[in-house]
Amino acid sequence: MQADEAKLVALVRKGDQRAYTDLVVRHLPAIEVYAKRIVNDDTLAQDIAQDVMVVLWQRSGDFNPDKARLTTWLHRIAHNRCIDIMRKRQREVNWDASDSEYPVVESENATDLQPIDVALMRLPESQRTALVLTYYQNLSNRDVAEILNSSVRAVESLLVRARGNLKKQLETQL
C-alpha cells in the first residue's frame, strides 16, 4: 500500500491526473470527517478537506515517502489548517471564560449531532485532536505524535485525559 502510494504520488508530481484522482478518492473521506470532528462546521470542514487535496496536487513534491505515510502527511496538513481556522475563530468569538471552560461554536447541523459529538466538541482542542486521530482515524501513536509535533508519551497523556473528560461529561449528560 505504502509503496503503491509512493508510486502514485510520483505520478502526481509529473501531472498524472488519473493517479491524483485515485489518491483523492482514497483519502478525501477520512480528511473530510476528521475536519468535521475538529472544527464542528460541515462547510468549513469541506473547505479544509478541499484545501488539503489542492496541496496534494500542487505540492506533492514536498511529500517524502521515506519519512511518513501519505495519510500522516495529509492529516498533518489538515490538522494545521484546522488549528489556524479555530484560532482565528476563537479570536472572533467573544466568549466568557467564566461561563464555559472551552468555547464551543455550535455547528449549522447541531441538531443532528449525537451526545458523543457534543461531548467531543467540549474537549480542549489538543485532547480532541489526539482522540480523533487515534480512535476515529486509526492512526498509530507514532503517526499522531508526528502530526501533533509531540512525543508518544505526550500523546498517551492527552488520550488518558480526553477519555477521562469524555466519561465525566457523558455521565452528566446521560
Partner: protein, 147 residues
Amino acid sequence: MNPNEKSHKRALNIIAAYGAEHSAWPEEERGATLNALQSSDQLTEMLSEAASLDSLLQRSARVATLDGAYLAQQIAHRVPQQLTLSQRLSRRLEVVAESLSSDAWKPALAASLTLSAGLAVGSTTYEPVEDWSQAEHYSFTVVGEEY
C-alpha cells in the same frame, strides 16, 4: 517496582489511553497487555469501563459527503502545480528522454543530417570567380551605351 507491577501499570495506562479494543493498542505492547489482563481483576474491570466508552464513541454521526473523483477533476483542471526548479528540470529531461526513446526523432535527425552534409559540401567546394575584367563591358551593354 518489580516487573509484574511495571507491566500491570503499563497495561492500566494503555487501556486508559487507547480503550478496550485490542487492535487499538500499540502493536509491540499488545501481547504484554493481554498477559497482564489475565492476572488482574482491576484491569478486567477497567477494560469493561473502557468498552462502554468505546461503544459511545462509535455513535458519532459524522459522515463524508464530498465527491472525490469530481473534486480531483476540478482541481487538476483549474489549479496549476507548483514545482521547484529541480522538479521542472527533471520533468523537461524526462520529456526529452521519452521523445528520444520513441521513433519520433528519426525524421528530424535525417533532415538535419542532410542539411548539415549539404552545407559542409558547399562550403568546402565553392570557389568564387574573381575575374572582373569584363564586368564594365557587360554593365554598359546592359544599359545600352558603349564608349
